[in-house]
């Protein structure tokens, strides 16, 4: 027995001394040069290692490019010392790009932004802020905007002060098998046409999955499927910088649909989101005004079906007005599905009822509870009758992004 003690001591020391700083290297100039020089059809390989950067990296105007690290745990690109540019990596005006196998950490602004790219795959990539969720973190982890044919799979987004995975003003998008945690919005689809969000884990965010339409942008969105996701325990305080629209999302939100039409939420596990499992609201409920005359602020043709809602027991989060309202009216029995009660006057039939194809439909969600909180009339006629919404919509066309370069 005596002989084991010194051995044990050595073992302990050996284990403790393993936690030393990684060997940070500087490959900034090399890597940026290669991103400028790589020819169409080429691959830029970044070996395993820890790398520090002071400025944004960019890929621009190229076709059929792969940027590949050794894996999201192996190739680490850290921007904590960033003095130039806001993003970690920007990709613009490209076609058929694959971004794969590395982590982008601690950027001053967004992690990875792709703008005006036709055909982009993000796979096995992490964007994260290593100091935890903070208002000073960048807004988006993944930020494809004005893109077509987008696939994000097996990615991780952690710590964004707006949305971890954000897709904006784009068409034909799939977000699947991703993890979004400790962001304000886990996954956000904004002003996008044809997006499928499935088999993702969104947890420990302020809001799990958001589907938004905003005024004044290049396109309005719709035709979004959100299915087979695990959206749970999204009760994180809202740490978005003030003034951002995502700052209006109450902690405890599972899924929220704002001003978007043709949305289907189905076969998800929506659990332990304290303020609402699913919320359907119009843009007016945010309190913001708009000047865009082409903008329609209402959510229509929304179909919520076959989900497992399980809120658990407890009060709604009270840091936000909606949470306070919900607590006043419902106490501990916060409804799983909340509708703000706004109705688009342009989609009513002769009898003043919403046209069938524009209705909000809620069906087959087990024992999920519901409330129309009557926002237009200052919450005077709160109505918990879910049967009024027992209808269905035909399946929404799948997003079907065309991606020719998948490896």
């Amino acid at each position: 027995m005596k002989n084991f003690l010194p051995l044990l001591a050595v073992l302990c020391i050996a284990v403790v001394s393993c936690n030393t700083e990684p060997n940070w290297q500087d490959i900034e100039k090399q890597l940026q040069e290669q991103l400028i020089l790589v020819e169409d059809g080429g691959t830029v390989k970044i070996p395993a290692g820890h790398y520090k950067f002071t400025g944004s990296l960019s890929l621009e105007g190229k076709k059929n490019i792969t940027i590949k690290g050794a894996g999201m745990q192996e190739t680490i690109l850290n921007f904590k010392g960033q003095t130039d540019g806001a993003e970690g990596l920007t990709i613009s005006d490209c076609e058929n790009v694959v971004i794969e196998g590395f982590s982008v950490q601690d950027t001053k602004g967004d992690g990875i932004k792709s703008r005006k790219v036709n055909g982009i795959v993000f796979r096995d990539v992490t964007t994260e802020w290593t100091d935890g969720p903070k208002t000073t973190n960048g807004a988006y982890g993944f930020y494809p905007v004005m893109c077509e044919n987008v696939l994000l799979e097996k990615c991780v987004a952690n710590g964004a002060s707006d949305a971890g995975i954000y897709v904006g003003q784009s068409k034909h998008i799939i977000v699947r098998n991703c993890t979004a945690k400790y962001n304000v919005a886990g996954i956000e689809i904004e002003n996008c046409l044809y997006a499928d969000v499935y088999e993702n884990d969104a947890f420990k965010n302020t809001g799990g999955v958001l589907v938004f339409d905003m005024p004044g942008l290049s396109q309005s969105g719709g035709y979004v499927n959100v299915y087979n996701n695990k959206i749970y325990n999204n009760n994180l305080r809202n740490f978005a910088p003030e003034g951002n629209i995502v700052g209006t999302v109450p902690p405890g939100t599972g899924v929220m649909i704002v001003a978007t039409s043709h949305v289907a939420i189905y076969e998800n596990d929506i659990e332990d989101n304290r303020t609402m499992g699913a919320g359907i609201v119009s843009y007016a409920s945010s309190g913001k005004t708009w000047d865009d005359t082409t903008f329609n602020p209402y959510s229509k043709a929304v179909y919520i079906h076959d989900n497992n809602f399980d809120r658990g027991f407890g009060l709604a989060d009270m840091s936000n007005d909606l949470g306070k309202l919900v607590s006043v009216y419902f106490g501990f029995n916060v409804p799983d599905i909340i509708y703000d009660g706004t109705i688009d006057p342009d989609v009513l039939d002769a009898n003043g009822n919403v046209l069938e194809e524009k209705r909000i439909c809620i069906r087959n969600n087990g024992n999920a509870t519901f409330a129309n909180v009557d926002f237009p009339n200052q919450f005077q006629n709160i109505d918990e009758d879910i049967t009024k919404y027992d209808c269905s919509h035909p399946a929404i066309e799948k997003a079907n992004p065309q991606l020719t370069k998948l490896n």
């Binding site: 290669q34 790589v38 169409d40 002071t54 001053k108």
Partner: protein, 350 residues
């Protein structure tokens, strides 16, 4: 007894990582050295234009960390630039636009010499414009093509007599297109008719630049000068305040913040011609500003610069907040004063 417990994390190599890439070498982009172009005669650092190289200036220039600029254009012999009303003039293939960035050692004493930091070339090749950044050596004898850009420390005595030091950033080749782009095509920004429409003191006397170019035979289609728009000089106290502010925003922001520019995702459009106040940002909610919004609700609040996100972002040097996003590291104090006055005066203009 050897310990089987190895420290896995210590296995990283000490050598510099080799990024491997298929394809890609520095071929055919441009000359290695600035001197090889033959754009200047005599001592390179004196920037004496060679034959066919014409100096020019802009009424309202882009702010670049107080760097001074010497601009030149070389139009191929026998060719002409075509006049356009609103955007950059149409330069023929083969044109070279040259922009030298330098710091006088003492802003108040030109006789104390200067240090040239970089020369940016915009070359109109057959396939489109190509941007090439050249970084000057400390000896000031030549500049070398550095497609990945770089950083150089520089010091100078500022207007107020105080010493300033800066880690000056030279952009990389991709970043050039970050601003110099319309749609997907590279384009010059500065030489627009309204910004060239002003006097320059040439070696043979003072003359309006557009008239001079016409006289030299390199500009075609110039209408009567009275019908050519003229952008004010941004810090000309006698010029119209509203137009001065619009000029400043156009030159510093509108290359991105226009409907076909890289900032169009914001819906905020700041070109000199923009007539729609909603697009100019009046009471407009931010789209993806993140903490760039500074807790404020609107891009532009007439009468209230301190409530305007536009002013907030121009007044920041935090890379996650500041606007422009690239091209400066310091605040333009004088420009900010103009923006304050401009936004304050908008209340009256309504």
């Amino acid at each position: 007894m050897a310990l089987a417990l190895g420290c896995g994390q210590q296995q990283e190599t000490e050598t510099t990582a080799e990024i491997t890439v298929t394809g890609g070498n520095k071929s055919n982009l441009g000359f290695e050295k600035l001197s090889e172009y033959g754009l200047f005669t005599g001592v390179l650092a004196e920037l004496n234009p060679a034959d066919g190289v014409i100096p020019y200036d802009l009424n309202t220039p882009l702010f670049t960390d107080y760097a001074h600029k010497k601009r030149f254009v070389k139009v191929p012999e026998g060719e002409q630039v075509k006049y356009t009303v609103n955007d950059a003039l149409e330069f023929p293939v083969g044109t070279i636009l040259i922009k030298n960035f330098y710091y006088p050692n003492d802003f108040g004493k030109p006789e104390q010499g200067e240090r040239i930091m970089e020369t940016r070339l915009l070359i109109h090749k057959e396939h489109g414009w190509e941007a090439l950044p050249y970084i000057w050596n400390d000896e000031q004898t030549d500049a070398t093509l550095e497609i990945a850009g770089g950083t150089k420390k520089v010091s100078w005595v500022h207007y107020d007599g105080n010493m300033k030091t800066l880690d000056y950033s030279i952009p990389n080749k991709n970043q050039c297109k970050g601003c110099h782009v319309r749609g997907a095509e590279m384009t010059p920004i500065g030489p627009k008719a309204r910004n060239l429409n002003g006097k320059y003191t040439y070696t043979d006397g003072e003359m309006n630049q557009l008239l001079k170019w016409q006289e030299l035979g390199i500009l075609s289609g110039l209408p009567d000068l009275a019908n050519v728009d003229k952008m004010p000089v941004w810090d000309d106290a006698h010029a119209d305040l509203y137009k001065r502010g619009r000029a400043y925003l156009d030159v510093n922001c509108a290359h991105c913040h226009r409907s076909d520019g890289p900032g169009n995702t914001s819906g905020l459009f700041l070109t000199y011609e923009e007539a729609d106040n909603a697009k100019l940002g009046y009471f407009k909610a931010p789209v993806a500003a993140g903490r760039g919004s500074g807790g404020l609700m609107h891009d532009l609040v007439p009468g209230k610069p301190d409530s305007s996100i536009l002013y907030y972002r121009m007044n920041s040097t935090d890379p996650g907040i500041m606007m422009p996003e690239l091209g400066r590291k310091t605040n333009h104090d004088e420009g900010l004063m103009l923006m304050q006055a401009w936004i304050a005066a908008l209340a009256e203009k309504q």
